[in-house]
Amino acid sequence: MTPLLSVRGLRKTYGGRIGCEDVSFDLYPGEVMGIVGESGSGKSTLLNCMAGHLAPDAGEVLFDTRDRGPVDTLRMSEPERRMLGRTDWAFVHQNARDGLRMSVSAGGNVGERLMAVGARHYGDIRGKALDWLDRVEIAADRVDDRPSAFSGGMQQRLQIARNLVTGPRLVFMDEPTGGLDVSVQARLLDLLRGLVREMGLSAIIVTHDLAVVRLLADRIMVMKGGRVVEAGLTDQVLDDPQHAYSQLLVSSVLQV
């Protein structure tokens, strides 16, 4: 089986400081991978390098495209990469405001990706938007409201709908449940799990919340100081961590 995403020797430095270094892994179709580590460990840098938001200094990010097979997205032309960002890739920001158009209605937010790939039938676009609002549990009568009138949890669900409406194959998520209270988090996690399974999505989730990765991720990478210190099956790494830092991380979680 061809990996959906192959990362090879990725490095990003900020002047003399290491953002991330020597990161390599394969992500297979349908796999959900978590990247955990403390603030400043390089997980967000890594995510942004893979998603094309930051230019890494070295390495390859090979994506298995529909028409040409594995292509290094870092060497793709910009239009191609942006097209990928609208079709096969999705990016869910921690702060919904970064991922939504706050001055556009919920329906318009969901419809934007459809229109960006050429949908020109209002009725169809609206129908799909309503369908997706329903899937993320936003009432149909909110379709014409702006996200600024939504709660934090609703904004985040709207952002997810907006990203998934074009049926992407790979979703990057940056702390998708950060900043939400726990009951809202649980609902969002349940939703994400369901969508990931139904759509056969592959996902890379950056989070510092070990409970989130346990529920969502098949496997995890533990990062420290820009490097991957341990990687493996999620429950194995969390229940039997091998590296000193992973042990510290796991033992630092407060028990409820």
């Binding site: 419809g111 229109m115 039938h121």
Partner: protein, 288 residues
Amino acid sequence: MSDYNFAYLDEQTKRMIRRAILKGIAIPGYQVPFASREMPMPYGWGTGGVQVTAACLTPDDRLKVIDQGADDTTNAVSIRKFFERTAEVATTTVTSEASVIQTRHRIPEEALSEDQILVYQVPIPEPLRFLEPRETETRKMHALEEYGLMHVKLYEDIARHGHIATSYAYPVKVEGRYVMDPSPIPKFDNPKLEMAAIQLFGAGREQRIYAIPPYTQVVSLDFEDHPFEATKAPAPCDLCGAGDSYLDEVITDDEGGRMFVCSDTDFCTTRQAAGHRGRLSPIEEATA
């Protein structure tokens, strides 16, 4: 002869503007940056259009200036006088007699010909600005033909009003490539953007010039199930009786009385001179 250089601007500046115009014509709908000059009038009064007109004028030209279709409003009168004084060119209010027409917010009703130039005053040239405030991003979107956002704007219209409520500055796609803001003309005028004359657009504050060459394809954006419609008030002109011209609504008293008149004053007076009459035409003329 006045002490100004011909048409106010110095020759180097006019050359710079002409280069921008030529580039604009070569790439229909593409916004060409240019070094907009300070003009002796405030931004918003047509400084972009005036600079383009100045760069186009020759001593043999005959200039017409309209504002919302009218030749006699402050803006039109002051710009006309400006060129009378600085270029000493002939002026006219008759559309067919003009070689250069500077306009704000209208396209004349009468079809223009190949030897005419129509210069538009443009406040905000960027059609994507409504939803994307970053200039770096809108430029990239134009470059990569990422125009989905334009339809988001129309979607919002339909979602809110049940139909595309944008009635002026209605976005168009030029020659199948660049999406362009046609300046705040009513969408009634959009079909006229495909014409025989050269159309030049100047935005002074935003420092952009763009153009539509003669006979260029100009398509108004729409949805398959909400097609573009060129709308106007559903009435004939009350002065000349024209049923196919764009109308201004004029409130005549405090009791709800109103009348509709052609916004194109030259068109209306020409028709009246030819004997056409509307509902509120003065009686003595109707009987004469």
